[in-house]
């Protein structure tokens, strides 16, 4: 007898938390707001952990995966279209849920400390719970449209939380920008949904998967277009080229939000979506190639930008974009479980990095510029040590978590045919840059002497340090499971990984190369930022062109502004607003006025404000009609006998 898992509780508990805190929150005492805000994710986490018992061999009595819970009434049913409220749990969504609710809960706890003095405390927790509601819906959605609900919903939560301090213009701007850029991606996603609906008539993952599996001949063609459309959606949500521009600005939000939404969970939704629909991508080598190229290009491009940022959160933002590029690279070489593996470890160490950065910013009284930091190692020992674990993890040193997942991605890229070597090369170069800019951050923040005189750094409270410590443990141990076991577990949901064609020597050699590269990055950073801190400025001065280009983020925002936004507004205002609207609409008004002039006297009187002349208008209209009616036999002889007009006139 299988016990039901009550998956519906996972999204609905956070929704309840949102409802309570948003409607009543302002009147409730702070401890109650905190309790509601924390119980919601804790409850969801409990349900997830219950479902995850099978992972540790306690799965007796649990239903087999994939497991579906559906509401008996459909959400939308019209004609042949039927979309259910169906939640589906399989290995993939289980892993994702563990990350989302687990890391999510830790960040909720951290937030209770970080935001404790904010006047919008209840509003903050309600938004955070709302985010969890949509994120778990996204993960659990059994069909693409329900996933889209979550997809748009996390965008909304992100919009609200980026613009949380809405009186700050930059924050409100950033929230709006995030939403609109995401909408561009969503446009692609929607077209993909329309294509799937018109070609397959269903959006349920299970049905789609079965349909594709039953037709081995379906490759390329419309599937390629569908996959590219879905991938456009992913580039928006997961901040890939060319739609990554919103993520750095999203750092305007509170730091725990950056950790939860803009690093650990929401931005990885694109990767999750591709893994979820991998059976479509598997049939389109071209689409996979596009995914791999965009992923690799984004990884490298964002890493170069990360090297020249001085705002601690922006460095992390670019590094997030870059790491997401790795995940797409893995998807592009069909190593979906590799992508999810990196997604998981990244969630640990990147959440930790952001929360650590938040602790630093908290300690520095709101300062985010690394040039004003330094020497915080002794003042903030717990923050320092936990962040160190995260920095080593993201740089790819064994035995930290990031090493295993990044190594797996590079390995499968290398195995992936001829083009794979190029992808591998780009990935390796990115690894070097990553290691460099992360140790740059590490040195600039924690080593040397403090460079700001009015700061009095102090360690954060334990509500913040607790989550840091747990995440540090996960950043160290999170990868020990290894890609083979992880991939084998996920195989029913994401397909098998490519068999290693050559000997295990290759794997070892590639690992050693990766570690050496990470070490090189550390050494360069050490040379420039610890031993001779005056050198970076000299290097920058030596090549001002390149430095300015990178420091100004390649002027991409400016480019979009000049090529998309300004022309759109200009065309709307001048061409459409002045030429067309005044031309056509105004012209129509003139035309009508001209017709009206036909009864000019009446019009004049009407203009003088005499509304009663309306009656005269009606009379004039009726006269025209009667004239027409009488003339009709002349115009259209014999078509209608005249007697009928007598009827019209009231005589018989």
């Amino acid at each position: 007898m299988n016990t039901p898992l009550h998956l519906w509780l996972i999204p609905l508990l956070p929704l309840l938390g949102f409802a309570l805190n948003s409607i009543l929150g302002r009147g409730l005492p702070k401890w109650l707001v905190t309790t509601i805000g924390l119980l919601a994710p804790l409850g969801a986490l409990t349900v997830v952990l219950n479902a995850a018992r099978s992972l540790v061999g306690l799965g007796a009595g649990l239903p087999a995966l994939p497991y579906v819970e559906a509401c008996p009434n459909p959400w939308i049913a019209l004609g042949s279209l039927r979309i259910d409220f169906a939640l589906a749990l399989d290995q993939l969504s289980l892993v994702m849920l563990l990350v989302v609710t687990g890391v999510g809960f830790l960040i909720h706890v951290y937030s209770a400390g970080y935001m404790k003095d904010d006047p919008g405390y209840a509003r903050y927790f309600s938004y955070l719970n709302l985010f969890l509601f949509f994120m778990t819906t996204l993960v659990l959605g059994g069909n693409l449209l329900l996933m889209f609900v979550g997809w748009e919903g996390v965008g909304l939560a992100s919009y609200l939380l980026i613009g949380f301090w809405f009186n700050k213009k930059s924050a409100a701007d950033a929230g709006k920008k995030a939403f609109i850029v995401n909408r561009i991606g969503d446009f692609g996603f929607l077209i993909g949904i329309f294509l799937l609906l018109s070609n397959f008539g269903t959006l349920s993952f299970a049905n789609l998967g079965a349909l594709v599996a039953a037709n081995p001949g379906w490759t390329g063609g419309v599937l390629t277009i569908i996959c590219i459309c879905l991938f456009i959606g992913a580039t928006g949500k997961s901040a890939q080229l060319p739609l990554y521009i919103w993520l750095p600005d999203a750092m305007e939000g509170p730091t725990p939000v950056s950790a939860l939404i803009h690093a650990a969970t929401m931005v990885t939704a694109g990767v999750y979506m591709i893994a979820r629909t991998h059976f479509l991508f598997d049939r389109s080598p071209l689409a996979l190639l596009v995914v791999a190229i965009i992923g690799a290009a984004t990884a490298l491009f964002a890493a170069t930008m990360g090297m020249a940022q001085n705002d601690i959160k922006r460095v992390l933002a670019y590094s997030t974009i870059s790491q997401l590029g790795y995940m797409f690279l893995a998807c592009g070489v069909a190593a979906y479980s590799g992508a999810i593996f990196h997604l998981m470890t990244h969630a640990f160490f990147k959440a930790l990095l952001f929360l650590g950065a938040g602790s630093v910013i908290h300690a520095m009284g709101g300062e985010q510029d690394m040039r004003k930091m330094g020497g915080l190692r002794k003042k903030l020992p717990v923050t320092f040590w936990t962040m160190t674990a995260a920095v080593f993890a993201i740089a790819g040193f064994p035995p930290f978590a990031g090493f295993f997942s990044k190594d797996a991605i590079l390995y499968y890229a290398y195995l992936h045919g001829a083009g794979g070597k190029i992808l591998y090369g780009v990935g390796l170069l990115t690894a070097l840059l990553t290691s460099f800019y992360m140790f740059r951050l590490w040195y600039m923040t924690f080593f040397g002497e403090i460079r700001s005189h009015d700061a009095h750094p102090h360690e954060s409270p334990w509500s913040m340090l607790g989550p840091l410590s747990i995440l540090a443990v996960l950043s160290i141990c999170g990868g020990w499971i290894g890609i083979e076991r992880f991939g084998a577990y996920l195989a029913p949901a994401t397909g098998k990984l490519a068999e290693s064609a050559s000997s295990s020597h290759l794997e070892l050699i590639l690992s050693i190369v990766a570690v050496l590269v990470a070490l090189e990055g550390l050494l360069i950073a050490d040379k420039y930022y610890r031993r001779s801190p005056e050198r970076p400025a000299k290097v920058a001065a030596a090549m001002p062109g390149v430095y300015n280009l990178v420091a100004n983020k390649y002027y991409v925002d400016e480019f979009y502004g000049a090529v998309v936004v300004k022309p759109l507004l200009g065309i709307s205002k001048y061409l459409l607003g002045w030429v067309v609207d005044i031309g056509i609409a105004g012209g129509a008004a003139w035309l009508l006025a001209g017709i009206a002039n036909f009864g000019g006297a009446i019009l004049q009187r009407w203009q003088s404000g005499n509304i009663r002349s309306y009656a005269a208008w009606l009379a004039a209209g009726a006269a025209v009609v009667l004239l027409f009616a009488f003339l009709q036999p002349v115009l259209f002889p014999a078509s209608v006998p005249l007697v009928h007009f007598n009827l019209l006139l009231g005589g018989r």
């Binding site: 009434n73 049913a77 748009e152 909304l156 700050k168 609906l197 008004a589 309306y614 027409f628 006998p641």
Partner: protein, 511 residues
């Protein structure tokens, strides 16, 4: 059979009229007109709720709550009213929006409330009349009647240049009705009837020569398209929104024109509608993008909403002229959703105007600091209007675009879908400039109170509806589609109806 059933439509029609007369007769002080108008509109709402409660859902064909009494012997004009699933919810929506309009005007209308509320209630009667009339002459009467209170009230209560906007409104909507009248009368000369069902039958049966029918259909289309408005006939809307009291702006655009297109253009002239559908689809898609682009650059928030309305209305046009059953169902759903959202948006914006006395967007900024509740509700409405899932706007938008994509035209659907980006841009930009950012000079220096109890009560049910229809749209979709018949099926069904001896055309006329 409920005792009310035979007279319920008449009650819905006459209650606002009685209220209008009462308002006109009773003294003009101490908010008496306001209270009577509110009471009347609430009673009317109660009556309209009778309709879905007693509607025979299983019945696929024909009209319900029907009354058909002769009114004028010759020409044969009947008091013929009735509803089907097409008009049912529109009548209910009109019922819901009336009290909202009264509450939204509560503080806005300071001078001569008596005039305002009696015309407002008269307008209500006219609109309900448009939705329930099944006799073309009766319909035309209500159609024309609906213009008068609107023009008068815009002229009297305009914000800056009311009389100019009223003139424009009048020219745009009255002149196209003249050909409509001619066309209706011409149909009468051929068929001796104004009865909708009879006309539908005779046209479908080919009893009227097709050559002239094209022009007749065009006259119908033209009059309705101006009212929607369809690009490029939208010239009046922006001025009307800028000047009209919000209670009237809520009802002027969209529903009447869109309903009339469905019932009296596509419904009466399916062949002609099919001929002109490609043009309408093209105009619809242009209108969707054009309205959104112009909304982006408006400086006055009422004008911004006007162009947003053009964009949204055009989406419904796209669904109507796709000529599919799913599209039609979605179009009615979307008309309802737009009506609800605009009710909220205009109530809040009207409230802002009352507080700050300007509609210039740039004068605002940071209004959320003092008006957190207004900001929250406005954001929710904005999200509905840009089609966020689990809110009502998404359902209509998704169904229309997806149906157009799979059953009508991929490319037009793709181009139309660009509006999901543009609508987010103009609405969120509006939200930001009004409510977010640091407080501007105006918002900082004016002392205001957050939503009043009346305003809150006005929008709360609409907000609830946005959520309910977004989460559980299926019952409404089911109820709409139960009585809809796509044009191809319609022609067949009409022919199957046994010929009613009274409507047989004189043999000479058949030539």
């Amino acid at each position: 059979m409920n005792a009310f059933n035979p007279i319920i439509l008449t009650l819905i029609l006459l209650t606002p009229l009685v209220g209008a007369v009462l308002v006109a007769l009773l003294p003009d002080r101490a908010k008496i007109p306001n209270w009577i108008a509110l009471l009347t509109s609430l009673v009317t709402l109660l009556f309209t709720l009778h309709l879905p409660a007693h509607f025979a859902w299983g019945q696929q064909q024909g009209f319900q709550f029907e009354i058909n009494r002769i009114w004028i012997e010759s020409p044969a004009i009947f008091y013929h009213v009735g509803i089907d699933s097409l008009s049912l919810w529109l009548v209910v929506l009109t019922g819901i929006l009336a009290p909202v309009g009264v509450l939204a005007s509560w503080n806005a209308i300071q001078s001569r409330p008596k005039v305002f509320y009696s015309f407002f209630l008269l307008q209500q009667t006219a609109i309900v009349g448009v939705f329930i009339s099944l006799d073309l002459m009766l319909y035309y009467g209500f159609w024309e009647l609906s213009l008068v209170p609107m023009a008068v009230l815009i002229a009297m209560y305009g914000r800056k240049d009311g009389s100019k906007a009223a003139l424009k409104f009048f020219l745009f909507t009255f002149i196209p009705s003249a050909p409509l009248l001619v066309a209706i009368l011409w149909l009468y000369t051929r068929t001796h009837t104004f009865n909708f069902a009879d006309l539908q039958f005779e046209i479908a049966a080919g009893l009227i020569p097709a050559g002239l029918l094209f022009w007749v259909a065009l006259a119908f289309l033209f009059a309705f398209a101006v009212k929607v408005p369809v690009f490029p006939l939208h010239g009046w809307l922006s001025d009307t929104f800028a000047e009209a009291p919000v209670a009237l702006a809520m009802i002027v655009a969209g529903k009447m024109g869109l309903y009339s297109l469905l019932r009296f253009h596509v419904g009466l002239f399916p062949v002609q509608a099919r001929q002109i559908a490609p043009l309408m689809i093209a105009l619809a898609v242009i209108g969707i993008l054009y309205g959104a682009c112009l909304a982006l650059v408006q400086k006055n928030f009422f004008r911004l909403i006007a162009f947003g309305t053009v964009s949204h209305g055009s989406l419904v046009i796209l669904a109507i002229y796709g000529l599919t059953k799913m599209g039609w169902t979605a179009s009615i759903f979307q008309i309802l959703s737009i009506g609800i959202v605009e009710g909220v948006v205009l109530t809040i914006l009207g409230g802002l105007y009352n507080r700050y006395k300007t509609a210039e967007i740039d004068s605002y900024g940071g209004a959320a600091t003092k008006l957190p509740r207004a900001a929250t509700i406005f954001v929710l409405a904005a999200l509905t209007s840009i089609g966020l899932p689990l809110l009502s706007g998404f359902i209509g938008e998704f169904l229309i675009l997806s149906t157009t994509f799979s059953q009508v035209s991929r490319w037009w659907a793709i181009v139309a879908a660009v509006s999901v980006i543009l609508s987010a841009a103009y609405m969120l930009w509006l939200v930001q400039r009004l409510f977010f950012g640091p407080e501007g000079k105006l918002t900082a220096s004016t002392s205001v109170r957050d939503l009043s109890f009346g305003e809150f009560i006005a929008v709360a049910p609409l907000v609830a509806l946005m959520l309910i229809l977004g989460v559980s749209p299926t019952p409404l979709l089911d109820s709409i589609q139960s009585g809809l018949h796509p044009p191809s099926a319609q022609i067949k069904q009409v022919i199957q109806i046994p010929i009613n001896p009274q409507t047989v055309v004189a043999p000479e006329a058949k030539r």
